[in-house]
């Protein structure tokens, strides 16, 4: 019943035996205790489960763990430790761009992907990039502000939120 898989998670080589039906999200959360990846809908509609797969954000609830075999996965825990998104995290903190924090993982993933493709996004572009990320608490504006401020700081501007 179980299939052996090998993949890289946050730089570590991982070998696991999983049922093919196991989602990547369940593998990360249940087998690897990487609980920073959240589940809000298990059908691709909320964005709480985003992880980087080979460098691009994907829904861990819609990728089977067996499909990730041979690939590189990065979760919020890994991104956090890498220091790569430190500035983004700080702007989220400054701007209080999270309340309960359940959506935050996905927001950071979408934001990081957006900024790597489009270093100076407009507010509508930021909102569009977040179109698959549900947040019940914040009303989104503070998240848009935080991403916008990060973009400005990365490109050498002040990042003051106007």
């Amino acid at each position: 019943m179980k299939t052996d898989i090998t993949l890289t998670v946050n730089g570590d080589a991982v070998r696991e035996a999983v049922e093919p039906r196991t989602s990547l999200a369940d593998l990360l959360r249940d087998n690897l205790q990487l609980t920073g990846t959240h589940l809000g809908c298990e059908m691709g509609a909320c964005g709480a489960c985003l992880v980087m797969l080979d460098g691009a954000p994907v829904h861990a609830c819609l990728v089977l763990a067996v499909q990730a075999s041979g690939h590189k996965v990065e979760t919020i825990e890994g991104l956090n430790e890498s220091g790569l998104i430190k500035d983004l995290q700080e702007r989220f903190h400054d701007r209080n761009a999270l309340q309960c924090g359940f959506c935050t993982n996905g927001m950071l993933m979408s934001a990081q992907a957006l900024l790597s493709e489009n270093p100076m996004p407009s507010r509508p572009e930021i909102r569009e990039a977040l179109s698959g990320n549900y947040c019940r608490c914040t009303g989104y504006e503070s998240i848009v502000d935080a991403i916008s401020a990060t973009a400005k700081m990365r490109s050498g501007q002040t990042g003051e939120v106007s």
Partner: protein
């Protein structure tokens, strides 16, 4: 919302996938990006015994020219339709449609082939495929064949792909000089499946339409070619009068489903509004 149990094979070749399918019997589902299949498993709408993963078969990837046609491998991800210069040049309706399909992360995984094979009548790419008059290359154990888009989409979630067959590639005919396109949809939220959408491709010479191809989606059981509206426009300039005639003709083209949320009259109304807007924009670029 946990999926039922199944076996899994990652196929390495098209032939390998088809023979694994044949061996296993009928209870098999091919897996591409998985973004339609996996949610349906989570909802326990299907329970295959075996999933055969096509996504790492090299022959299903790649975008290249072949005899003046653009060959787009079935596993091409939605995001490539946005970024790839060849698609932008020769399959502009795919490029125009892609930003409307779901959300960024879904576009990183979902495949063009998967979208066409899935044949959701509310999907963008199938309508773009019909409007561009693409041909779909399908492999069966007996050999491969090419099916024109107009004959490919049969019904809700039903295509010319027979059980066990694999969609290999999408072939897009070369562009004609003076060709312009229009693509738009009406949604309630960004990235939602459309209430109504339309893909239009036209060739004009001195302002006169030499060719026009219109496909609407979310108006019936499959992407729908607007034959009467096309006829109303052919050989004419795009102006208020021809647009009005095309909109009126949609009444002959469409027989939208009727339900409490979306009465048929609403879909027809929206289809007319949308087509009118797209044509008015074409007028501006033509």
């Amino acid at each position: 919302m946990k999926s039922p149990a199944f076996e899994y094979i990652r196929a390495e070749s098209v032939a390998g996938a088809m023979s694994a399918y044949a061996e296993a019997g009928d209870d098999v589902v091919y897996l591409a990006g998985g973004h339609s299949v996996v949610p349906s498993l989570a909802l326990r709408l299907q329970a295959p015994a075996l999933m055969i993963d096509l996504s790492e078969i090299a022959a299903l990837s790649g975008i290249s020219f072949q005899d003046g046609w653009l060959r787009i491998g079935a596993m091409t991800r939605h995001v490539q339709a946005i970024n790839d210069p060849l698609i932008a040049a020769q399959a502009p309706l795919f490029a125009a449609a892609a930003p409307f399909v779901a959300h960024p992360a879904i576009r990183n995984r979902g495949t063009l082939g998967g979208s066409l094979a899935h044949a959701d009548p509310a999907s963008e790419f199938p309508a773009a495929a019909v409007a561009m008059r693409v041909e779909l290359e399908i492999a069966s154990p007996k050999g491969t064949r090419r099916v024109p888009a107009d004959e490919f989409f049969l019904d809700i979630y039903e295509t010319a792909i027979e059980p066990g067959e694999i969609l290999l590639a999408i072939h897009v005919p070369g562009p004609v000089a003076g060709q312009v396109i229009g693509f738009d949809e009406i949604t309630r939220r960004q990235g939602d499946y459309a209430m109504v959408g339309a893909a239009v491709q036209a060739v004009a010479k001195d302002g006169i339409l030499q060719d026009i191809s219109i496909a609407l989606f979310s108006v019936g059981t499959r992407p729908t070619r607007a034959v009467a509206a096309q006829a109303a426009l052919m050989g004419r300039v795009i102006d208020d009068a021809s647009i009005a005639d095309a909109k009126a003709a949609l009444g002959d083209d469409l027989d939208p489903p009727d339900d409490l949320q979306f009465p048929a009259t609403m879909r027809l109304h929206l289809a007319r509004v949308l087509l009118g807007r797209i044509l008015a924009n074409l007028e501006a670029v033509a």
